[in-house]
């Protein structure tokens, strides 16, 4: 699988990683800003833009990644149900395993 195809089929996970990286960058920039001044009034904007925004970006990235996992499970269930329908519709050979033959694609 080449890079382009990989990115296309895993766009949601790529977006999740990018958001996570952006969130970490925001946290680091916020920390740099806060540590560069001793005044609380100057630190608060960094706390909001770096800290809260960074946490929000990481959280959204995690949600997208977990959503991709759930969609994968959903697609596997599509495969299981299709295979099950095929097994029910046609006669089964005596030596044919039932559950083992269900491939989760």
């Amino acid at each position: 699988m080449d890079m382009k195809q990989f990115l296309r089929s895993n766009w949601d996970r790529v977006a999740a990683v990018l958001l996570g990286v952006l969130g970490v960058i925001a946290l680091v920039l916020g920390w740099v800003g806060v540590s560069g001044t001793g005044l609380a009034a100057e630190q608060n904007p960094y706390l909001i833009s770096g800290g809260l925004a960074g946490i929000a970006l990481i959280g959204v990235g995690c949600t997208i990644w977990l959503s991709a996992d759930l969609q994968d499970e959903w697609r596997r269930l599509d495969g299981v149900e299709e295979r099950l329908a095929q097994l029910v519709d046609r006669p089964r050979r005596a030596d044919e395993p039932v559950l083992e033959s269900i491939d989760a694609t």
Binding site: L52, W74, A94, V98
Partner: protein, 148 residues
């Protein structure tokens, strides 16, 4: 994406609206909080904006949490339905559930427990293949060690 009777994704359109709304409102609240805090040198006013930002992140987090919860529930419910369908499927040849002797269960003579042949309790001993359901009318108990 393949369309099935269950739908292409585990979520309903209302779930998507909810997560989009909560994420947008949360990010806007954080941006507004930053805008308000950076435009003021008054510490108490900044704390107020900070609380707005925290409220935004809580709102965003709640929306994302319910999105994942809805997806997890949908996948779980479909897994249960699929398992029910497998169990109830009218296969042309019945699936054996009685674990007959040819499945490989053995028992020692005079014992009321049955084992898998590799069980340490029957290694090197004279065993007989058994049907775990009954032996001479007496139901056999599964071995507590090999748990057949």
């Amino acid at each position: 994406m393949k369309q099935t009777a269950a739908g292409p994704v585990p979520w309903a359109i209302s779930d998507a609206r909810t997560v989009f709304f909560s994420t947008t409102v949360g990010l806007v609240a954080i941006f507004v909080a930053w805008w308000g805090a950076s435009g003021s040198a008054n510490l108490s006013r900044q704390v107020t904006w900070l609380i707005v930002g925290i409220g935004g992140i809580v709102f965003l987090g709640a929306g994302n949490f319910f999105w994942l919860l809805a997806g997890r529930r949908a996948v779980g419910a479909r897994q249960a339905r699929t398992l029910d369908a497998i169990v109830a499927a009218p296969f042309s040849a019945p699936i054996s559930t009685s674990a007959p002797a040819e499945a490989g269960y053995v028992a020692l003579d005079g014992s009321r427990r049955f084992h898998v042949p590799s069980c340490l309790l029957v290694q090197g001993k004279a065993t007989k293949p058994v049907n775990p359901g009954r032996r001479r009318g007496v139901p056999l108990q599964p071995c507590e060690m090999c748990r057949p």
